[in-house]
């Protein structure tokens, strides 16, 4: 079984996240990281191949692939620490500024390039969202590009006899879906906790090879990706104005009344 995990390099959620003058999210090496929800996707991919014990682990393959600049190698190194077998970074000046739709096209073209390279893919497992943009849209768009069935927001997943089955929980409803493989599966943070890399895998990850692909590796029209193809344009990005200073009340037996009075005096109830 071969599982592809598209992973994104994002600013750490705990860092001071910001935009540059072109309205793009600043991703510096000091603050960049592997999207936490993609760690969950890597974990699920690893469990899928580990569960398939009829075949030796070496004959399975988990691939991490990212679209991004050289700094994004950090995300792939982290994926190697977790235990993926192969990593690819797609990068090209022509793809800078790609929007969701172009990102999905690129991921689809890269998936097809892997298949053409004699690496047939059984499943693509993505995170439920990239924690920088919170789009939650690339997975569905990728399924549409590949014309593979989509099984999204899985909080549980079973694979057997060439089919996948998921359970997903939406607001007020739980759904069970099945589809034949290959399929695109996105996973929530409730499905599994990512493993901690051990010391030897951290050391080994430093020197594992990362294949760097440019557009020439992908069967894709350069006109359809990058800034010029972007369907939306950020016209302003600004830190939110300072709020009024917070009113702090230290409870000495009247805290609840103070809270109620605050709501009443502001006309909020």
């Amino acid at each position: 079984m071969r599982v592809l995990v598209p992973v994104k390099y994002v600013p750490d959620i705990q860092s001071d996240r910001r935009f540059d003058d072109d309205g793009r999210i600043v991703r510096t090496l000091a603050e960049g990281t592997l999207n936490e929800l993609d760690e969950v996707a890597v974990e699920v991919a690893l469990r899928l191949v580990e569960a398939d014990t009829g075949v030796p682990r070496e004959e399975h393959e988990v691939i991490a692939l990212t679209i991004g600049p050289a700094d994004a190698d950090l995300a792939l190194r982290k994926a190697y620490q977790l235990g993926v077998d192969y990593a690819v970074r797609v990068t090209d000046d022509a793809i800078i500024g790609s929007d969701y739709f172009a990102t999905a096209r690129l991921l689809s073209a890269a998936t097809k390039a892997l298949v053409a390279d004699d690496r047939p893919i059984d499943a693509v497992v993505t995170g439920m969202a990239a924690l920088d943009s919170l789009g939650s849209v690339v997975s569905t768009l990728l399924a549409a590009e590949l014309e593979w069935p989509q099984l999204l927001l899985a909080r549980s997943l079973q694979v057997s006899d060439g089919r996948a089955r998921i359970e997903r929980e939406l607001d007020g409803v739980t759904e069970e879906l099945t589809a034949p493989l290959p399929a695109v599966i996105s996973v929530t943070d409730h499905i599994a906790a990512p493993r901690y890399p051990n010391f030897s895998s951290i050391v080994a990850a430093r020197t594992k090879p990362i294949d760097v692909w440019d557009m020439s590796r992908l069967a894709i029209d350069a006109e359809l990706v990058g800034q010029s193809a972007a369907r939306t344009r950020v016209i302003s990005a600004a830190p939110r104005p300072e709020k009024d200073p917070v009113i702090v009340h230290v409870d000495q037996g009247e805290g609840g009344k103070e809270l109620a009075d605050f709501l009443i005096s502001r006309g909020l109830v």
Binding site: R17, S136, P149, D171, E175, S236, V250, G253, G256, A260
Partner: protein, 330 residues
Amino acid sequence: MTETHSRFAGKIAVLIDHAADGLHSPVRELLTIARDLGQPVAVSFEAPTAQVEADLAALGIAELIVVDIDADWHLTAVAAEGLTAAALECDAKLVLATTTFENREIVALTARRLGAGLVADARPEIGADGQLQAFKRVFAGTWDVVSEFETERAVMTVRANTVQASTVEPTAYPTRTIEVAASAWAKSATLVTRTLHEHTGATRPPLAEAAYVVAGGRGTLGDFSAVEELADALGAAVGATRDAVDEGWVDHDAQIGQTGVTVAPRVYIGAGISGAPHHRGGMQAAQTIIAVNTDPETPLFEICDFAVVGDLGEVLPQAAKHLREYREQS
């Protein structure tokens, strides 16, 4: 009505997820927004009940399109093909839907098929140049981003409590039913079961659309009674952190945050919640934020308007009592 020269004026397709007992408030808000920007065309996968019909008339829609599609429209890929067909049928330049996880999938696929720009979880606005803009709050409430569309058509999801829904003199509107054939791809996954959650606390408003939210975290130590008491005094929905959900103290439906529900109520009260960025991502857009915490250094205090340093077990019931008394007097 907003003066607009936006190229997205005209017909605006609004996906209505409705209930037999009428339109939910986020949908009513969307139709109000659409009425301000152009002519709302409601798009539905079900024939409307009498209550829904009455609501649509009072919200001043120009037309209702009922999509009759030959596959299970609960599959988001199928719904997207229906919504796309409806948008093309009425030549809508703008498509709006509420912010839910399933609508994210539906609108993304719809935008892909329409060649439209997409901004999720934003507020539509008309800029100084008369063009449509999408206003969005990001990075746990620390940045505001405004985008414009480069495309002929635009698609947006809008979160609840963005505007106050308003009605007009009810007007008759035409209803059109369109038949749509879903693609083989859209049907390639099978929906095996679909189970509605039992509505516990049916007296409280749904979290995603509530104007008041009282949320509890680990600091409740599993006892949500104080949170619920204040929620009921305010007519609020109950929310929670992921940790409280993982502990099994509350249902997953109550989880607020980047991997849970996004809320933007008039008032959010967080009790026993530290304010991790993951949680803040889901409530950053609340208009007024109140926090109750024993730790004066807790990060949630950094983004709130009113902070009580204290034990939630004491503070919340006292607040509830005073609010009930205030209600009785006025």
